[in-house]
């Protein structure tokens, strides 16, 4: 038996629905149809009345979730694509994210954002918006890179009392597989050493963990031992684990699939240089997507985002510094 990243997300939702009567799911086509990506397959049938199709009204979808949360429910919202969350943006950042701070009433909503580039998806079905949400106070932003984390972080998201932006990478949905679902997991806010090494630290998250790991494998053939840190959660961000890794390697490359300006990679570098400055043997570097919309054509798309090859090249440069 094996289980995909997408199935893990479905299973986490099934378990949340089973274990907690306060959980319900709301989003476009999530009901009978099971969602655009089938992340809620059969859930409407298994949990009647608790998996509801929404109109094409992202603002009202999120607003409704906040209201339900006030009443003690724990809604899971599916955005059909992360890109469309921009029209529900205000309710996320100004309604959900401020509720607890203003009123001391918690706002336990989980907003699932199928995100990230896939070949042929183009500028409006490929965006990575983790930095946009992380800039705002009052939200937790999770970016699982593995099947196990897709499952356990989603359960953790539903369990905590704060709004969670759950960034699930569409490229990992079908291809990434695990033998079974995990029974235990690191908590939210802890990064994970995905691969150990001593020459250079690559800090990354989500799909880029696998590109970085592939780059590390390639560089291993050249004798380099690259450490790959998977952030898992970009807000909160586990600076300690990152700094500890840099303390071991002395070199830092931050990789993200999002746009460069103010991305996760900038935030990581600002933290490491403030807290672990003396640990660095070379200037910290970052590698992000190019600063344009995400292109449709596979040729352009492959050049727009970091890949194992471009990560390896950046790492080589940095190792030579």
């Amino acid at each position: 038996m094996s289980i995909t990243y997408l199935e893990a997300i479905r299973e986490a939702q099934a378990r949340a629905l089973r274990d907690d009567p306060r959980v319900f799911i709301y989003g476009q086509d999530v009901g009978e149809f099971g969602g655009a990506f089938k992340a809620t397959k059969n859930l409407a049938r298994e949990y009647p009345g608790r998996v509801l199709d929404a109109p094409i009204s992202e603002d009202a979808i999120v607003g409704l979730a906040v209201g339900a949360a006030i009443e003690g429910m724990r809604p899971i919202i599916e955005m059909q694509f992360a890109d469309f969350s921009t029209v529900g943006f205000n309710q996320i950042v100004n309604q959900a994210a401020t509720l607890f701070w203003r009123t001391q009433v918690p706002c336990p909503i989980t907003v699932r954002l199928p995100f990230g580039g896939t070949s042929g998806s183009g500028p409006f079905h490929s965006q990575s918006l983790e930095a946009i949400y992380a800039h705002y106070p009052g939200v937790v932003v999770l970016t699982p890179a593995t099947v196990e984390d897709a499952y356990s972080l989603l359960l953790a998201a539903v369990a905590i009392d704060d709004p969670v932006i759950f960034c699930e990478h569409k490229l990992l949905y079908y291809h990434l597989k695990a033998e079974k679902l995990p029974t235990e997991a690191l908590p939210i806010g802890k990064a994970r050493i995905h691969r150990e090494g001593r020459d250079l630290t690559i800090v990354t998250y989500s799909a880029m963990v696998h590109e970085a790991a592939a780059a590390a494998t390639e560089l291993a053939t050249e004798g380099w031992e690259i450490e790959v840190v998977d952030l898992r959660s970009v807000k909160p961000l586990d600076t300690d684990t990152v700094v500890a890794s840099v303390a071991r390697t002395g070199r830092l490359l931050c990789v993200g699939e999002a746009w460069p300006w103010g991305g996760v990679t900038a935030e990581v570098i600002a933290r490491v240089t403030a807290e672990g400055y003396g640990l660095l043997d070379a200037p910290p570097q970052r590698l992000n997507a190019k600063d344009t919309p995400v292109p449709y054509h596979p040729n352009l798309w492959a050049a727009h985002r970091p890949t194992a090859r471009s990560i390896a090249a950046a790492a080589r440069n940095l190792l030579r510094t």
Binding site: G67, I70, M73, N94, D162
Partner: protein, 342 residues
């Protein structure tokens, strides 16, 4: 010209009288409280803006008074009267305006941005239209929990009907057949913007058919009409009739905020029926129906003034929020807070 109270069946006269008397006293307290805020503003005692409900008390109180404690209420900036009627302590208003650390918003938010979500009273965010879908969510949650008989009311101005949020939320409520009462105070202006620049339909109540919800029009200057119409809308929602759109016609009898002299308000409008002061009209009804006499009203007025002065004096002695005592985290999960990362 006074509005005529149409003859009710004998047994209901007492209830009508009680409703008017109760409503009037809330209106009076709200008006006097507003006057106090205006005075404090002029005296430089209030940080930021002051937003009054002058001229809208009849409509607002009708909403608050038609709801019961277990209902949901999302007032907006001109709903001082409705808030009091729904049960918001007057202290909450004063504490929020003065930024007292003891207020429900603890100095974090101010003026009209106050509420107690667990008491069914939603603290508005500023983005117009955004509270309606939150009310929907509370109502849906109650349905999911098997609680029935709850109504949720949301108040907005005619300007806010132009927001996408208004549209999405009203349509959402219609699809879910939620017991939402959406009350639009058409006070002819959104800040300085007249209706001609805001919408082009003959009557905002004409929007109801396009959502498949019930429509009610009401003279917002007339307490009797407000009580009857808003009451009917709330009853309709409570009885399972789905969302109810109430459109009231009236005029804002103040500036957008106290910084605004409202010199742009057309004098023809001021002189029209819309420009009548609903408080004055309500008082006239009480007198005409002999439900109260001038002496009683004077007593209520001075009681309200004393209440307000006492509360203000008390709040002015209360501690201001202390930045050193602040948690400075927006998360409920303290262990996930990033604390002082700069």
């Amino acid at each position: 010209m006074l509005p005529t109270v149409s003859e009710p069946p004998a047994g209901e006269v007492g209830a009508l009288r009680e409703a008017h008397l109760g409503a009037f006293r809330f209106m009076l307290r709200a008006r006097l409280l507003d006057d106090k805020f205006a005075a404090l503003y002029r005296a430089g005692k209030i940080h930021g803006g002051v937003f009054l409900g002058r001229g809208q008390e009849a409509l607002s109180v009708a909403v608050g008074i038609s709801l019961v404690k277990t209902d949901v209420f999302a007032p907006l900036i001109r709903d001082g009267a409705g808030r009091l009627a729904f049960g918001e302590p007057m202290l909450d208003a004063i504490r929020t305006y003065l930024g007292s650390a003891l207020g429900s918003m603890r100095g974090r938010d101010g003026n009209v941005h106050r509420g107690r979500p667990h008491a069914g009273l939603l603290p508005m965010i500023s983005h117009l239209g955004a509270m309606i879908s939150v009310v929907n969510g509370m109502l849906l949650a109650r349905q999911l929990k098997g609680i029935s008989g709850t109504v949720g009311a949301a108040c907005i101005g005619e300007g806010a009907t132009s927001t996408g949020s208004f549209h999405e939320a009203l349509n959402q409520a219609a699809v879910e057949k939620l017991p939402l009462v959406l009350v639009v105070a058409n006070n002819q202006y959104a800040y300085s913007t007249p209706n001609a620049r805001q919408f082009a339909c003959a009557d905002l109540a004409d929007r109801a058919a396009g959502y498949g919800v019930a429509a009610h029009s009401v003279d917002g200057t007339d307490l009797t009409d407000c009580l009857a119409t808003v009451g009917a809308a709330v009853a309709g929602a409570r009885a399972g009739g789905g969302p109810q759109l109430v459109v009231a016609n009236l005029l804002r009898l103040c500036g957008h905020g106290e910084h605004d002299d409202a010199s742009y308000v057309a004098s023809a409008l001021k002189k029209s029926g819309l420009g009548r002061d609903c408080l004055k009209i309500a008082e006239d009804i009480l007198l005409r129906e002999q439900w109260a006499d001038a002496a009683e009203i004077a007593v209520w007025r001075s009681a309200a003034l004393r209440e307000i002065e006492d509360h203000v004096a008390q709040v002015q002695r209360e501690p201001a929020p202390d930045p050193f005592a602040e948690a400075w985290t927006a998360l409920s999960s303290q262990h996930l807070s990033e604390g002082q990362v700069q």
